[in-house]
């Protein structure tokens, strides 16, 4: 399969720039809402009422007063807060919606990776800005966590690229016409989802915002600032679930139902799986995770990549 073999236009070309952009944004916000509501439902055990509760607390944050601490680094602090949701929504540019992505380049997967990498700076700034000890500690925790999950995440993405012989998301989806990648790349799938939790510093990877440091990077945030960071984390997690659907679960492929509906069903499934499993596990301390990341996850994802390379050479993926 060569790079240009499957010509799928971008959603911008097909639907017009602004309607495509609006769609991506709306999907992103809905995904974020889905994640936040599911998270609340599992955390409080409140079931469907969690959806209203999520709206309610979002509105509450919108109305709440913002705070500024003693001698903060205001510019960088606010910049970091705003960057979290911006990066989350930008990462959706390469996630297929209705079979098309907003950006379709020969390096879609790198784009997704890059948005998540810039997030390091944003989260660290959120921790650095308020000149507060808990927030600062949280910011540094995020960095060390990043040093442990980043390479396994990259190898997981590269494994997908090898399997599809393309880094274009739509090609990756097309390459799974016969067999979903999750079958031959289970390790990459799990690592991708775990990394998603890690870069959204959520669930078992929530130590940058841990209860032991009074909420860490979020400990000095109130009002809109907190809303933006929390929403950004939720959108990122939702975007990662949608991306996992496209990269490992065949995207919109499936019998009977129309494609977009399949994609929705799968994405919701991944979100629910992620949230339910994530809350069954306590926080993994970053300093202990480093060893796992480097000595277990990196070799495991490399073996996964090797296996897929051999399969590609043997013509397994057609």
């Amino acid at each position: 399969m060569s790079e240009m073999e499957i010509p799928v236009g971008t959603s911008a070309a097909a639907w017009g720039t602004w309607s495509a952009v609006l769609t991506v944004t709306a999907v992103g916000l809905l995904l974020g809402f889905l994640v936040a509501a599911t998270d609340r439902a599992v955390l409080t055990g409140s079931g469907a009422r969690a959806a209203v509760g999520t709206l309610q607390s979002g509105t509450r944050l919108l109305l709440e007063q913002r705070r500024t601490t003693l001698a903060p680094d205001s510019l960088l602090w606010r910049l970091g807060c705003a960057a979290v949701p911006v990066l989350a929504l930008l990462s959706l540019a390469v996630v297929p919606i209705g079979g098309r992505t907003l950006l379709s380049s020969s390096a879609d997967l790198v784009w997704f990776n890059a948005m998540e990498a810039v997030l390091w700076a944003a989260v660290w700034l959120v921790g650095w800005g308020p000149n507060a000890v808990h927030a600062l500690t949280g910011g540094y925790r995020f960095l060390i966590q990043g040093l442990s999950y980043e390479l396994p995440l990259m190898f997981a993405l590269i494994t997908v690229g090898v399997g599809a012989q393309s880094l274009r998301t739509t090609n990756v989806v097309a390459a799974q016409a016969d067999l979903w990648f999750v079958v031959t790349m289970p390790v990459a799938f799990v690592v991708f989802l775990a990394s998603a939790a890690a870069f959204a510093f959520w669930g078992p990877f929530a130590s940058p915002a841990g209860a032991d440091i009074a909420g860490g990077v979020t400990s000095e945030l109130s009002g809109v600032d907190r809303l933006l960071v929390d929403a950004g984390r939720a959108v990122f997690l939702g975007a990662a679930a949608a991306m996992a659907t496209a990269l490992f679960l065949g995207g919109d492929a499936g019998p009977w139902l129309p494609g977009p509906l399949w994609q929705l069903v799968k994405t919701v499934g991944v979100v629910v799986l992620l949230v339910v499993v994530g809350h069954r596990v306590p926080v993994i301390r970053p300093d202990r995770f480093v060893e796992i990341g480097w000595m277990v996850l990196i070799p495991a994802t490399l073996l996964q990549a090797l296996l897929v390379s051999v399969l590609v050479l043997s013509g397994f993926y057609g």
Binding site: L62, Q65, L89, N131, L151, W294, I298, P299, S309
Partner: protein, 113 residues
């Protein structure tokens, strides 16, 4: 690419709107001037000191690895084209890097507590 710029513009506009909506609806315009939270005690010093990141060795290891791995993206799409030699070379190279990781691990740089 214009589409991505349009997305960026829209997202920034949304963030701006959220700030605006908060101002309009909240009625609390001025941010509260507060001391950083220190469990009810007063802060004694500015927290933005030089933070001792005891895992600095991991950052060096990461940089070494990450720079090489950028090249793995273009490699990924040409595996079928280049044949077995590409796979052998890449994984041979990775094996060398992994030896380095194992060495660093044995030296104890992945543990600092």
């Amino acid at each position: 690419m214009t589409a991505v710029l349009a997305l960026l513009a829209l997202v920034c506009a949304i963030v701006g709107t959220v700030y605006g909506a908060s101002r309009l609806m909240g009625g609390l315009w001025q941010p509260a001037q507060v001391l950083p939270f220190e469990s009810g005690m007063l802060p004694q010093q500015h927290a933005v000191s030089r933070y001792h990141a005891r895992w600095y060795a991991v950052t060096i290891l990461f940089l070494a690895f990450d720079m090489e791995m950028i090249f793995m993206y273009p490699w990924a799409v040409v595996v079928a084209e280049m044949g077995p030699s590409a796979v052998v070379e890449m994984f041979g190279f990775l094996a060398v890097l992994l030896v380095g990781v194992v060495y660093v691990w044995r030296e104890g740089a992945l543990r600092w507590t």
